[in-house]
């Protein structure tokens, strides 16, 4: 579905992503793990055309256009780090903006789907997005992305700064979203979270993909265990 081949990205003179090759098949749940500053966000921004890169990115066999609006039109929807909600708009308006790419749709039923997944958003429907708590904002960001009927959902650090209980709810939601047929590419620092429901995992370190495998292989790997799964216990 999504194929990235030999992607190189630079910030000024710094080489941030080096020869990245990543493949995601339809229906898959793929996680991309790695420490802070490894280049996960840059990779996502390059996929959604917010950033220029050198290399090939194709989606369903055709090269992905280099214009964010056109990428969204194809159903590749990016739920960014830092959420990028519309703070002065209500929860409902934020969600409806998410369906901007769709020409004809039934707002009520689309909203209903999101409210089923995150019931708290129904209660907050009329509140301004900036008044929500961090966890609610993250749910809204995911909800807004879902409103665009994604084929491929790019999720960047959805658990950043959230309490364990919220993380659990989000993990559950992601599993449901994936089971409903949406392909997911997730970038996470929190490795246990990223491994929980993923089918396949990539490890990104300083701009290089250093390992690819199943969650089981990752859990068994000595390096991953020591560095990312807190070898304390």
């Amino acid at each position: 579905m999504l194929t990235i081949e030999n992607l190189n990205v630079y910030y000024a003179k710094a080489h941030v992503l080096k020869n990245i090759t990543v493949r995601v098949s339809p229906g898959e749940f793929v996680s991309l793990i790695g420490p802070n500053g490894a280049g996960k966000t840059t990779l996502f921004r390059t996929i959604s055309a917010l950033k220029e890169g050198e290399g090939r990115i194709s989606f369903n066999g055709a090269p992905l256009p280099r214009d964010p609006a056109k990428v969204v039109q194809l159903g590749v929807i990016h739920c960014p780090e830092g959420r990028h909600l519309f703070p002065e708009m209500s929860v409902k308006d934020n969600l409806l903006m998410g369906a901007f790419r769709l020409r004809n749709f039934d707002p009520a039923s689309e909203l209903e789907k999101v409210y089923q997944l995150f019931p708290i958003l129904r209660e907050r429907e009329r509140q301004l997005a900036r008044t929500l708590s961090g966890g609610e904002q993250q749910m809204l960001a995911i909800g807004r992305a879902l409103m665009g009927r994604p084929e491929l959902l790019l999720l960047d650090e959805p658990t950043l700064g959230l309490a364990p209980i919220v993380r659990k709810a989000i993990a559950e939601a992601l599993k449901q979203i994936n089971e409903s047929g949406v392909t997911i590419l997730l970038a996470e620092q929190n490795v246990p979270f990223a491994l929980a429901h993923a089918h396949r995992v990539y490890l990104l370190e300083t701009g290089v993909i250093v390992k690819e495998g199943t969650p089981e292989e990752f859990r068994a790997d000595a390096h991953v265990q020591q560095v990312y799964l807190g070898g304390v216990s």
Partner: protein, 252 residues
């Protein structure tokens, strides 16, 4: 007497309590680890100590003096320096000139000692330039290089050199291993260990325990702005509350 005393520090943003009645102290010559998951308030604590933000309550004593409401430059002058997680350098100055700014004293009219010797010393001490690069100082490699050309590990060294250039008695390191490759993590942790061996007092923030376990003498664990444990690495690792709230975190 402790070098730094933090007493009942409290800070909230909007309705969110980022730091909640936090107290801890730092002994001269030790490395204290300030550990907690993302969003636990570690960076806020550093911002409070450095005077970037002011606390709602509580005070900060450095060498017995109350520095709570001092401006940043005065706190730095008094002997506290901070290394940022994301390098804050001068992009159009060379590496050498970047370090030099820290070695220039905060005086407009008073003629003071030449900053050159101190700049070279900071560069060499952090491994930014080796002695071969700076034999007579003038042909130093750092002189022509811009920070944008440095790798992540080099940038971290640059940040350290700039901090050391201010002659700190207390060094605050904010996630010094973030974004580094495996090899670079080893290099930087050797560097930190060597600074400690020279007698440098350090407070080190990290969200991950593993990198700091063998470096730190003592650990303070933060969770949602509160101190939930304190002690040697072994004690903290055994603490059930830490395991429950931080390491396990309900599965993730």
């Amino acid at each position: 007497m402790a070098l730094l005393h933090v007493e009942n520090l409290r800070k909230s943003f909007g309705g969110l309590m980022a730091v909640k009645d936090l107290s801890f102290h730092v002994e001269p010559g030790e490395i204290l680890g300030l550990i907690g998951p993302n969003g636990a308030g570690k960076s806020t604590v550093f911002n409070l100590i450095m005077g970037t933000i002011t606390p709602d309550q509580g005070r900060i004593l450095f060498k017995g003096r109350d520095i709570t409401h001092w401006p940043t430059y005065k706190i730095v002058d008094a002997g506290v320096a901070r290394v940022f997680q994301i390098a804050r350098y001068f992009p159009r100055k060379t590496v050498y000139e970047n370090v030099e700014i820290s070695a220039i004293p905060n005086e407009i009219f008073v003629r003071s000692a030449d900053p050159r010797a101190k700049t070279v010393e900071s560069c060499v001490r952090t491994g930014l330039c080796t002695n071969e690069h700076c034999p007579g100082d003038d042909r130093c490699l750092c002189r022509s290089e811009l920070p944008g050309m440095l790798p992540q590990g080099g940038l971290r060294r640059l940040e350290l050199a700039r901090a050391i250039g201010t002659d700190p008695e207390l060094l605050l390191l904010d996630e010094p291993f973030a974004g580094l490759s495996h090899a670079e993590v080893d290099e930087i942790s050797h560097l930190i260990a060597s600074l400690r061996d020279e007698g440098q007092t350090i407070v080190l923030v990290d969200h991950n325990m593993r990198g700091v376990m063998r470096l730190v003498d003592r650990i303070v664990v933060l969770c949602f702005g509160e101190k939930i444990a304190e002690g040697t690495p072994e004690e903290v690792a055994r603490n059930p509350q830490v395991q429950e709230a931080y390491l396990a975190g309900g599965g993730f």
